[in-house]
Amino acid sequence: EAGVAQSPRYKIIEKRQSVAFWCNPISGHATLYWYQQILGQGPKLLIQFQNNGVVDDSQLPKDRFSAERLKGVDSTLKIQPAKLEDSAVYLCASSPAEVPSSYNEQFFGPGTRLTVL
């Protein structure tokens, strides 16, 4: 079974530039998550999708971050404009949960390492 795919793996930009990350979850997984992992810390949830609907985006800095999952499969996360403090690894995860009423294991992708100069 193919895992969660993410691209690019690395991205270096200057502050105030824009950047986009792409995620392809495991086939058939209804739930998709984006996490931000700052160096030395655990991942922090940014947004959770159930199919193509947003379940939780309370931790997403909406003034600069946006995410979409238009067809309920692939997802993109965008930052515009980027700040120095956005330097982190952006992890995408998926789980088969149709309804988040019980724990379903999350499968993480390798992440995109963003460096903002």
Partner: protein, 113 residues
């Protein structure tokens, strides 16, 4: 390669030794706990979980202990191998909700051959 282990608490052990990684969680309402392993350049990988109605759970070479009184978790790895070298995170969550794990800070395990 890249590392997410910088500035983390570090545990160094010799191959074949047993390792114990500790974690304090913060929310007394949390009733479901997960240990993840994160190797350099990869996303976290599920290792083992435990519900709050248990105080011990065993897997293959791993054991998780839960002490709800002091809000403490530990992960024991038996006969540690070089392939166990990684950053280990505990995560807590509350059942009945969205089961989004809240990750702790992580511990870097270094296994010397």
């Amino acid at each position: 390669g890249e590392s997410v282990g910088l500035h983390l608490p570090t545990l160094s052990v010799q191959e074949g030794d047993n390792s114990i990684i500790n974690c304090a969680y913060s929310n007394s309402a949390s009733d479901y706990f997960i240990w993840y392993k994160q190797e350099s350049g990869k996303g976290p990988q599920f290792i083992i979980d435990i519900r709050s109605n248990m105080d011990k759970r065993q897997g293959q070479r791993v054991t998780v202990l839960l002490n709800k009184t002091v809000k403490h978790l530990s992960l024991q790895i038996a006969a540690t191998q070089p392939g166990d070298s990684a950053v280990y995170f505990c995560a807590e969550t509350i059942s009945g909700g969205s089961y989004i794990p809240t990750f702790g800070r992580g511990t870097s395990l270094i296994v010397h051959p």
